[in-house]
Every structure is written in C-alpha cells, then in structure tokens.
Amino acid sequence: MDYAYHLLVVILLYVALTISLDLLIGHTGILSFGHAAFYGIGAYTTAILTVSAGWHWLPAMIAATLMGALVAALIGILTLRLGGDYFILALFGFQLIVITVILNWESLTNGPFGIRGIPRPSIGPYEVQSGLGVLLFIAAVTALIVLVHWRFVSAPMKSKLHAIRHDETVAMALGIDVVRTKVVVFALAGGFAGLTGSLVAFYLRFIDVNSFTLSTMILLWAMVFIGGTRSILGAIVGPVILVLFPEIFRFVGEQRWDVPNIQQALYGLLLVLLMLFRPEGVAGKRRHA
C-alpha cells in the first residue's frame, strides 16, 4: 500500500509541475526551459530554511513560493522582452546557472551532497508521518494549485493569453501590455513551481540537484505535450502515463536489461512520433483542419 501512496504522490507532484508549465507553454506560448530551476529553488529554499535556520514548515513553504515567483519575475523581466528563440536559449542557460550555483555555493546548499533531515510538516503536535497523511497533504496543496490555475485561466484571461501566444503584434495593437502579462504569468508559474519544490522537500526529506536537472525539464515538457496542452485533464494524463509507464518494467524487467535506457529510448521515440502524428497529445484539442 505504501508503494501505491508513493506513486500517487509522485503523480500529484508532477501534475502540479505540469499544470504550471502548461500555463507557460500551452496558454501563453512562453517556451520555458527553466521550470525545473524554479522547482529546485523552492525545494532548496524550504530545505535551507527548515534545516539550517530552523523555520516552521508553513512560513518556509510560503517563502519557497515567493522565492520561485520573485526569481521568475526577475528572469522574466530580463528575458521576456527578447524574441522567442532567444528566450528559449536564455532559459536553458538560466537552468544551467541555477544548477551550477547550487553545486558551488557549498556553504549554503551543501553542494553536490544535498540537504538532509528536512522535517515533515506538522499540525499542532501531529507530524504528518503516515503514507496516507502525506498523500492527503500533498493532494491538498496540489488541488490548491490546480484551482488557482483554473480560476486564473478562465475567460477573459484565456483569450488574452491565447492572443499573446498566437500573434503578439496584434495583441499589442489592441492595447494589451504583452510584456507585463507575460512577466506576471511567468511569476505565477514560478511561484507554483516553488511551492511544488517545497512539497518535494517535505516528502523526500532530502534533496539534491539531481531532481532539478535538464533531464527533469525534458520530462516535464514531455508530460505537457503527451497529455495535451491547455487542458487540466491533459495535465493529469501526462504525468500518469509517464510515471506509470516505467512501472510496467517492474513486472516485465529482467535483471540484465538496461531498463532506464530502454525507457529513455522508447520515450524519445514517443516524443518524435507524437509530434509527427498527434501533436495535440492525448487530451488536447485537435487543431481544426
């Protein structure tokens, strides 16, 4: 049963990340490769505050959210006014910088060794210990993220983001402050990612850079596109598929097979085929002919 809880938690965490990334890529057309970095910033903020500075979990979680939002706002202001392809490379670079800083600022982050001993959240004297308790806690926060996202992305905001995504020039000619909207959306997504980072910190009680690399980033993008963009259902389907798919190998797996690389190969192939034959993903809407 515990393992089932674990899988559900992992799925929920990815749902939270996918939905915030979808806000950027799917709705607003902001092709961000930095999302894992904000996730990492949130996780490390939580870890440092609770372990080194002895903070209570709730303010640490809020701080992680704010850090994610603020750093995203800063990066956004610096890079969003520059063109599309440029922005993509810049965010790649930003992701690398964050990883490098984490690895090298050892006094703060313990470098490559990561931070251990992150406490679990507690309500009064009760620490959230059990599998079910943790699951409920994470489910609650994820639900909050999904709710806020959903509220934000209803009409008229949905159309406005679509307008920005599809044709920025016309949007500007209609009076839309494209840069400001993008920065705000970026900060919102960054905040969500930071919050999710704190969840992962509380869950695993240990974090290091390996959870926040470019590979994670590619996985997140895959989840957005496999599930389908601009769809809450898609943001659930994507993670479910990509988390459960490797689990199949547990049943089939022979010891001598290099399972992780088989997964990677299949999954790279899947991405290419997906873009060629069903770019809208599983739950996305098909573009009209």
Binding site: P156, A173, G175
Partner: protein
C-alpha cells in the same frame, strides 16, 4: 476642424535605404484621410511609426496635442489609436465572438484581477460580451459569432479584424489596405462601414489604400506618398489631376488588364 493626429517631419532609414523622408501631414477629426502611393512608397512604414512598432529616426508624432513617439505600441493603442493590418490576422482557433472580445479592455484581463475574480469582474465580462455582440451585428457577422475564425472567408475575416479593432472604441483607426481580397459586394459594405463609423461613432480614419475608386469615394483628404516623400495633398477633386494620381489610376488599370 480639429487636428487629431499630426505627423511632423518623420524619417526612417533601413540600412542605406531611406524609406521615409521628412514626411509631414495632419489628420483631421471625424474625417477620412487617405495615404496613397505606389508600392514601396513607405506608407506601411509610416503606420508602423505611428503605432510605434518602429522607432522614427527623426521627427515627431503628436496625438490630441501630446507627443506619442516615445510610447510603446500597447500604450499607443490604449491612448485610442487603433490599427488593422494588411492581413486580417484573426485568431484562427478562437471563435468570432472571442476574437472581438480580445479587443475589449476589462478588469478580468488584468492578471491580478483574474485571480481575485468577483462580481465586478463577471459583470464587466458580461458587458464586454454584449458590446462584442453589438459590434458583430454592426459589421454583419452576428450569425457567425460562434464559428471559429479560421472557418470564415477571407472577406469575413477582414470584417472580423475591423470589428475587433473598433470594439475598443478608438478615436482614430489606422487601416492598412482593407479592400484587399474583398469582392464587389463586400467593398460596398466596407465603404458603408467606414462612413458610418466616422459619422456614428465619431471615429477618425487614416487609410492606406490602392483601390482608387474607394479612395476617391470615401476620402475627405488625400496625401500622395512617392518614394518616402509627400508629393501632393488635397481633397479628392483637387488632387485628381495630379500626375502621381493619374499614374496611380493607370497603374491600377494596367494591373487589371494584365490579370
């Protein structure tokens, strides 16, 4: 009549090429002013400078008495200067109604309000929708409101883009070659829409056009631009005999014959 928009000595060069050279003109309120001239004369560049998509190398642009050349494009639009483009550039995957609603400013469009969302946001949204529906009715697209914009004919898309710009209630609209791709019936509707917009909505129109009969028919004043410079200005009747004008007519009938 008041001068609504004044363009004063603006110039623009691209690399070594002087696309616009010391161009000046004034647009009077509640009138239709036309910019005509051969292809490459710099007309769209002038539009791009007025709407701030391109910075002018020199000169000033003044709207309602205030200089606007330092503003950003969205600020210019918010001041009341609307703009349509040579292509309709509608949003294909949104419905016709949704397209028009993008043009209406409302609280729910502000990211911070979108999160808070309350009675006021919803009320404004409903009001915006009503305005959009009315605008669609006035351009004759009411029955198409629920269709996806990409399913419209080119002519219908043209009217959709006009509706989208007009719904925001701009004081002046810069229209870049709106007649392209319209058949005879649609042309009539367009001209009627233009004159009605000026008279009923008290909007001003600055028009770039190649279709001379339309230009002569709706314009109150015409400026002829050749190779980046204003070579003539006047009411249609005054300017009719100007050599550049004659050339424009001939050029048009040559093109018609050649087709």
């Amino acid at each position: 009549m008041q001068t609504l928009l004044k363009v004063d000595g603006i110039s623009k060069s691209f690399g070594g090429l002087r696309a616009v050279n010391d161009v000046s003109f004034e647009v009077e309120e509640h009138r239709i002013t036309s910019l005509i001239g051969p292809n490459g004369a710099g007309k769209t560049t002038v539009f791009n400078m007025i709407s701030a998509f391109l910075p002018a190398d020199a000169g000033a642009i003044v709207f309602q008495g205030e200089p606007i050349h330092a503003l950003k494009p969205f600020e210019i639009a918010r001041r009341g200067i609307g703009r349509t483009f040579q292509d309709p550039r509608v949003y294909p995957e949104m419905t016709v109604l949704e397209n028009v609603m993008v043009g209406v400013r409302q609280r729910g469009g502000d990211p911070l309000w979108a999160l808070l969302r309350g009675k006021r946001v919803n009320a404004e949204w409903r009001a915006a929708r009503t305005r959009a529906e009315q605008m669609l009715a006035s351009v004759g697209l009411a029955e198409r409101a629920a269709d996806y914009a990409q399913d419209l004919s080119f002519g219908e898309q043209r009217f959709l883009s006009l509706a989208r710009t007009l719904v925001g209630g701009p004081r002046i609209v810069l229209m870049d070659e709106p007649t392209v791709g319209l058949d005879k019936a649609a042309l009539g509707k367009l001209m009627e829409l233009m004159t009605r917009t000026v008279s009923e909505r008290r909007t001003t129109i600055l028009l770039i056009e190649h279709n001379m009969s339309v230009v002569m028919s709706v314009s109150d004043k015409i400026f002829i631009l050749v190779q980046g410079e204003v070579v003539a200005a006047g009411a249609p009747q005054e300017i009719r005999q100007h050599p550049s004008m004659v050339e424009a007519y001939l050029g048009q009938s040559h093109a018609a014959a050649g087709r």
